[in-house]
């Protein structure tokens, strides 16, 4: 379970990169609503881009992207619904890293929670990476060095919030981390009694 125990740590990865260079891909496209009725946490990979995948020309159906573990995507990737199922589906499908010029805020947080690495890269640099893998190709993502290298030797650096990077590198259980602050939480509760009581309604 993301956020809890068992988040995978990520250091570096060399793998095939797939390109899905469309802007504003919403989480409804990643996992359509009918699959949100499941109460399981696993097995969402087969539903990833369910409707789009029916089109033989859809990018992820290309043979050169088979086995891709890195996804290069357009701006505002993962906008819309908060469904964490979208991040679960990308991870279950096999992706470990998503690179985009920007991400939907909630999707970004959800991805970090489960150890799916979201990397923000300015559009011009991302375009160059995309050109290097169109038709099939590998990239090497190094989270410690904060670099992405193509197979021709080109290297680009990326920025990432230090705390987010720390969580991803170590696969942190963020709930356990918060629970270490138990004394402070209890002190806060004593000082600011809650304004509502749902159980008394």
């Amino acid at each position: 379970m993301g956020g809890g125990a068992g988040v995978k740590a990520f250091r570096a990865l060399t793998a095939t990169a797939a390109v899905l260079d469309r802007p504003d891909i919403d989480t409804d496209q990643m996992v359509p609503k009918q699959f949100l009725k499941r109460i399981e946490r696993t097995g969402y990979g087969e539903f990833l881009f369910h409707d789009w995948k029916k089109d033989p020309a859809f990018e992820l159906n290309r043979p050169e992207y088979a086995g891709a573990r890195i996804l290069l995507a357009g701006p505002n990737f993962g906008c819309g619904s908060s469904r964490e199922h979208a991040a679960w589906a990308l991870e279950d499908y096999g992706f470990e890293v998503i690179v985009a010029p920007s991400f939907g805020d909630i999707f970004f947080t959800n991805a970090v929670q489960i150890g799916l690495v979201p990397i923000t890269l300015p559009a011009p640099e991302l375009k160059r990476l995309i050109e290097s893998v169109v038709g099939g190709g590998e990239l090497t993502v190094d989270l410690e060095a904060q670099t992405i290298a193509d197979s021709a030797g080109g290297v680009v650096s990326f920025e990432m919030d230090a705390f987010v990077r720390h969580c991803l590198l170590n696969g942190l259980d963020t709930i356990a981390r918060t629970l270490q602050r138990e004394a402070e939480i209890a002190a806060f509760e004593a000082r600011f009694p809650s304004p509502v009581e749902t159980t008394a309604l």
Binding site: R22, I39, E84, A87, N110, I185, E197
Partner: protein
């Protein structure tokens, strides 16, 4: 705020945690797996909204039934109060929070739903989270959060006749873009916002996420306090007076500096209609479907072509000439009593176009009851609308209320994404009066031109 270290996200205390059936089963499983409990069931409240049927009778979908059963079992196991279907207090989570007076100024409110931004209308910091963070809040009542950037949208001028808060927010998203608010919390400010009811402010804050912002807020004022007074969870007596004192201090400082400022003159706004596959693809009612040939940027042009292909629209088509198959009035954006009154005023004495199937889904059991007291159900039914039970319904289409492939719908909801209301369905987002008028005409109309209509 419970704790803050430099270089790390602040640990926020969550004053109210709203939960529903769809984004919580895996969070409760996570608690069981790690042997953790719910820290504050008394600050947590559950309802059934996303996949409940809006017709009477049993739930036929076994997956939906299993998910609702799971919520019931989880709430019982962990002591979380649940407003189940039939309790009289059920409804869309973002409608019942304010309705019960649970949503109050200055609170931090989270929910596993992106439209949690709705509660920002009360001057609360309210935002949507994923299931991992639902588990985090259940276990700790806290959430680590980095400090967001701030953006103020200042609305000047007076809202013209026939132009609603829905048009204000659609026009705003059209201007700033669907990623304009990414990384920011929005403040909606200005005289035009002050003049709005709480319902109108909720409509605007609701769609903050459609502009990319996780949260949007309006500073609380007398309108806020008047709305809250005497609601079931609102403070009473001396507590109420103390709360008012506290709430009156929650306005933004006059000299506050924002990371970004945008100004919009609402006097210039017209009723809005989306023509594409995200809420930023929007135009005034007098406009036309845009032409990809006019777009210079390759990526933007490709996105526009894809949207028009999905929507089956030709460039240059007048928006008012677009024929409709379905009309949906409902959702956490536009299913409150004022929305239903505005729509009913348009349909009163008229008939739904024979080609159109039209439906009204009140936001909560409470809204439904109030509407029925006012006779709005009869107005809708006599006009040929279906009058349904409360829920999210065709905004997300997890229950049997869905569009068929190719069906075109005028909808008061918040998302026109591909397949949102049903696979292959085509959604146009509009205000309640615009949706109501479209149901009668069978195509979009400029509701301002309908004589006798007080939109």
């Amino acid at each position: 705020m419970v704790h803050e270290d430099p270089g790390e996200p602040a640990l926020l205390y969550v004053d109210l945690h709203l939960i529903h059936e769809v984004t919580t089963p895996q969070a409760f499983d996570g608690l069981r797996l790690s042997g953790r409990g719910v820290r504050r069931p008394d600050l947590t409240i559950a309802t059934m909204d996303h996949n409940v049927p809006t017709t009477e009778g049993p739930i036929h979908d076994p997956l939906a039934r299993a998910q609702l059963d799971a919520l019931r079992a989880n709430c019982a196991e962990f002591g979380v109060p649940l407003y189940a279907t039939g309790s009289g207090r059920e409804g869309i989570v973002h409608v019942i929070g304010p309705e019960l007076g649970l949503t109050q100024p200055g609170m931090t409110i989270v929910c596993g739903d992106s439209h949690t931004s709705t509660h920002g209308a009360f001057g609360a910091l309210a935002f949507g989270v994923g299931t991992s963070e639902v588990e985090h809040v259940l276990a700790t009542q806290c959430l680590p959060r980095p400090r967001p950037k701030t953006m103020r949208i200042l609305y000047t001028g007076d809202l013209p006749f026939g132009v609603t808060p829905k048009d204000v927010i659609l026009g705003t998203i059209g201007k700033v873009g669907v990623d304009g608010g990414v990384g920011h919390v929005l403040e909606y400010a200005g005289e035009a916002i002050r003049a709005l009811s709480m319902e109108g402010r909720m409509t605007i804050c609701n769609m903050s996420i459609e502009a990319g912002a996780r949260a949007g807020m309006v500073a609380p004022d007398e309108t806020t306090f008047e709305y809250l007074e005497n609601r079931p969870a609102a403070p009473r007596g001396a507590d109420w007076e103390r709360a008012l004192e506290r709430w009156r201090e929650l306005s933004t400082d006059a000299d506050a500096v924002f990371d970004r400022e945008v100004e919009i003159d609402v006097a210039e706004l017209e009723p809005q209609i989306t023509w594409g596959t995200n809420p930023g693809m929007v135009a005034p009612v007098g406009g036309v479907v845009p032409d990809p040939a006019d777009v210079a940027d390759d990526d933007e042009r490709a996105a526009l072509e894809r949207a028009l292909s999905y929507m089956a629209l030709e460039p240059g088509t007048q928006l008012v000439d677009i024929p409709l198959d379905r009309v949906f009035i409902g959702s956490c954006t536009n299913s409150r009593i004022e929305d239903l009154r505005a729509a009913a005023a348009v349909v009163a004495g008229r008939r739904v176009h024979p080609r159109v199937r039209a439906m009204v889904v009140p936001g909560s059991a409470g809204v439904k009851l109030q509407a029925e007291k006012e006779g709005l159900d009869h107005v809708f039914e006599q006009a040929g609308f279906e009058w349904r039970r409360a829920g999210c319904s065709m905004c997300i289409g997890m229950n049997p209320d869905v569009l068929g492939p190719g069906e075109r719908c005028a909808s008061t909801t918040n998302r026109n994404f591909e397949g949102r209301q049903g696979r292959g369905g085509r959604t146009h987002l509009v205000s309640p009066p615009m949706a109501a008028a479209a149901a009668i005409a069978g195509h979009f109309v400029d509701v301002r031109e309908w004589a006798g209509v007080r939109a």
